[in-house]
């Protein structure tokens, strides 16, 4: 289990993370979302040990991820911008992972086939998508306990994404690994994640099981006979409201039955309940907090 307590990080005068708390269970795929500059990449780099924390603790199975070499060996980090030494081939890159990590040759061969890569391929000649596959190939070949993907899942074409999803499912079932994926493509995240966290103002502001959270926020389309009064919606946690005359579109947090009961009390002519998707959940969450950067 990954446990982050009271994490602080600042760059010069800018405080990026301010007392962040997070827990990612074993066998979980955690989607990390936030607006640009929220600190997603910073958080992942801190977990990977690339950055030093200014305060707080990051522990994987009770061990510090920065200080413990063995723990670091169990974390695979795929950065948003991968580094490939000039002139390297897929085969030559293997040396680093082979020497430094608990490298699984069998898994490497398997994933090489899965991602349709060949050892003699020159990295600089690979397409952007293939470079992402290559980064994932090595990350998976070291059998990580924690896999950190910083926008590395973005841009994979549907077939590769499908294969990768299958691989992750197998790894989670067989080895109970945890995955943290930061992405701007919330539709893709929704497909793969079981939990999520929204990072804003240096903290995780919304966090939990994706299905449960989605169940807790719904869109309600309501038509009233008469214009409702200003206080009509008191007691409801409205994240978003818009109306055209007596037709209201509301996004409300709360148990569906409770909200429906309350709205029915206002004698609507029509009341429809619609599910929100992850993208809408993200947008409405941030909108309700007054953040509208994305």
């Amino acid at each position: 289990m990954l446990k982050i307590e009271n994490l602080y990080k600042s760059f010069k005068d800018k405080d990026v993370l301010k007392g962040l708390e997070l827990q990612v269970e074993d066998g979980s795929i955690f989607g990390l979302v936030g607006v640009n500059g929220a600190g997603k990449s910073t958080l992942l780099r801190l977990i990977a040990g690339v950055y030093r924390t200014d305060g707080g603790r990051i522990e994987l199975d009770g061990k510090d991820t920065y200080l413990e070499e063995e723990t670091r060996g169990r974390i695979a980090f795929v950065s948003d911008e991968q580094y490939w030494p000039i002139g390297s081939t897929v085969g030559s890159l293997k040396l680093l992972y082979e020497t430094m990590y608990g490298f699984d040759e069998e898994a490497y061969r398997k994933y090489l086939d899965v991602f349709a890569l060949k050892e003699n391929m020159v990295v600089t000649n690979l397409s952007k998508g293939n470079k992402r596959r290559l980064a994932l190939l090595f990350a998976l070949s070291v059998h990580p306990k924690l896999l950190l993907l910083d926008e590395a899942y973005d841009g994979l074409e549907p077939l590769a994404r499908h294969r990768f999803k299958q691989i992750l499912t197998e790894l989670i079932e067989d080895e109970g690994i945890s995955v943290i994926i930061s992405s701007h493509n919330l539709k893709e995240l929704e497909d793969i994640c079981d939990s999520f966290g929204i990072l804003e103002d240096g903290r995780i502001v919304s966090y939990g099981d994706l299905l449960q959270s989605k169940e807790l926020i719904n869109k309600y389309q309501v038509v009233f006979k008469e214009e409702p009064t200003e206080n009509a919606f008191d007691g409801l946690e409205i994240l978003h409201k818009e109306n055209e005359g007596r037709v209201y579109r509301l996004v409300i947090r709360g148990k569906e039955e409770d909200v429906v009961t309350k709205l029915n009390g206002l004698n609507p002519v029509l009341l429809d309940v619609l599910q929100v998707n992850f993208e809408e959940l993200f947008i409405y969450e941030l909108e309700s907090r007054g953040t509208d950067n994305e």
Partner: protein, 498 residues
Amino acid sequence: MNRKYLEYLIKQRKTACLFFGLLVCAISLSPFITRSIDSWVINLNTTMETAFVLGTVFTFVLPAVLLAWVHSRRSADLYLALPVKRKDLLITTTVFIALLSWIYFLIPTAIAVLLSRSGLQMWLACSVFALFFYTVMTLFNSMLYLIANNIFDGIVMMGAYSLLPVAVFGVISAFLDICVAGLRSTDLPVTVMRWLSPTGLGAMIYNNLLAASMNRPLAFKAGYFMALVAYGLLASYVLKAEFIDRQSERAEQVSDRFFSYPLVINLYALCILIVLSAGRLSLQYLRNHLIWYLILLLIYIVAMFIYRRRIQVRLKDLGVFLAGILLSFALSAAAWGTRGFGLADSYRLEEGDALVYSYWATVDMYDLTNREQTEDFWSHYADVSVEVQLPVPLKEQDQPVIGFMEEKRRDAINRFYEGDEIHYNGWLQIYNQRGIGEKTEDFNYWQYNMKTLFTEEELKQLAEYGTVTVYAPEINDGEPLSLEEFLEAREAYIHDHE
């Protein structure tokens, strides 16, 4: 140290290591191919020197290559996420560089020792020292490279700090030349340069070790060695902050930390300001030099622009520049107010085996005290030179000439600090000599511009202690004459032309 990372470095670079190893061997051992078998002992020395220099070069190049990943965000993501502590990354890289440089030294020199069948003891001593030196240099150069925040600036820092001792040497030499009356030879600039440069210290120690093998006395200075240890410790301390505790997000940013561009630019600016302000300060001096101060300020501001990558004139920069000017003025005023910090009066007479007074002037042959270059001066000029060599310890009978010459010296020094006009075409040189009759070495060298030149009477008296030679092309077809011969010849010349 991390064994796995060392293994990775070796495996990753094995082809390049082998190539450069062969190259170093070929270059270092070339004297054995090009020279005859008779000079193999000299060849050994050449190989020892070449291999040592090439090994040193690698302690500059390899940190820039093997630590380049620190300066790139993408590569830092890869390397800093490795399951290795930063301390171990640093130690392993240092060990790899120092060992590789050492092996590059060791192999050709060992072959040279085998071929020349001599110098085994010297080779052992040099090898042990080379390992120590390469370790210090690796740490020191890594420190310089990591002061910056990107690759280009890292290389600039290595160059700027490595050349700084040379710049300081130039500044001290120029400053003393301008502010100390008569001073022409002093070890101070070289000494300061040597102590400021670990490369210079290492070269000194190594040369002393090599000299010992050539039957010259071993002049091993513990101070130099301790200074190298201190440089190594300093580099280790700074590397803790610049590598182990480094905020890796600094990668690819401008190098605006105190010890990078801000300090380097200010140090070099101060060096130039010190030289610029070294003259006797006066309004006239400042008026004449104002343009240079303005040009330097412009360069200073442009340098600040370049490293910050944005155009911004900061009051703080102007303030620092102004403080530099004031500091250089203060230094100059102190030098002129204390007669070159007392150095102008610090001459010693009884040094080495002899004290030499040497006088030279270009004068009118009819009046040996007149050097005014009138229109027809060159049709009747004469070069007068005097050389008085007195054995050390000085004898009582030599006191009159010593008194006379020293009075001339004191007069020249006083005039220098009183701001008297500088007079050319008449110099008094005073120096000491070692090894008279063998290989003579001049040292403790002073040279003064003379306001009043020696009269014929004074020259006659000086001729009793040494040699006075006059060269007057008009009289004797350019053949140098003694004073007595000259005076006679001149009389005849005047008589013939009347």
